[in-house]
Subunit: 124 residues, 2 copies
Amino acid sequence: MTAQRRVVAEVLDGEHVHLTADEVHARAVAKLPEISRATVYNTLGELVSLGEVLEVTTDKRAKRYDPNAHRPHHHLVCAQCGSIRDVHPTGNPLADLPDTERFGFTVSDVEVTYRGLCPNCASA
Amino acid sequence: MTAQRRVVAEVLDGEHVHLTADEVHARAVAKLPEISRATVYNTLGELVSLGEVLEVTTDKRAKRYDPNAHRPHHHLVCAQCGSIRDVHPTGNPLADLPDTERFGFTVSDVEVTYRGLCPNCASA
DNA sequence: AGCACCCTTAGACTTTGTCTAAGGGTGACA
DNA sequence: TGTCACCCTTAGACAAAGTCTAAGGGTGCT
């Protein structure tokens, strides 16, 4: 555990946090000016491997990092401004996929992404 | 409708087709050697705007283009080799998101991505 | 034939992420 | 306390995917 890794972990803290690697780097630099991009990428990769942080790819742009890894959840994304909320739908989508639709795959995981407009963008 | 656009449309035809822009370009070049990358990107972008083709981002790498835009469906992705199948789960995930979990958003769309191992990768 | 329009082309540019070689701090051991 | 090895960090080069721009070329209209 180095100062750099601690700073990255501190930046990624809270609910509804979904920062890109660049945003993590920018905030880490504010706390520790000499931290490098490569270190941020390395640390994020390790946190993902350890299961402490989730990678989220809600759009084609940068990957985002979600520290809320210990409670299963899905995402609600504003199609206009890109803001993201964690959501907890009822029901189990895994049970909704019949065997005939599995093509012999061993299915182990589901991601659900809801899309729409956030209150801000809807009123504009 | 130009020759270039026709070729792109021809390349994107069939079930379970999910090509990257680069793959589309490679196959288009086989039919029309002088077609350029920019034209492929432009044409794909137009097809997406017209609603004839869906953009799919199952991984952080390249976007994929899915011509099966007129029948709603979701995707089943092999975590190892990346192969993709179109699937049609039962149930309606939109109904599974209670109002209290919508944060004031106007929710209009859901994408579901199932992940697992395809028969090939599972047996290897 | 001349012209305007728009599609296409090639390539430069941007963004995001990965890789590599060199530098530096920390603990282990004498 | 001095030396050493190890591994993390750094800076920058590199790579992949996509966007943008300026110039070239076909097509149809007049």
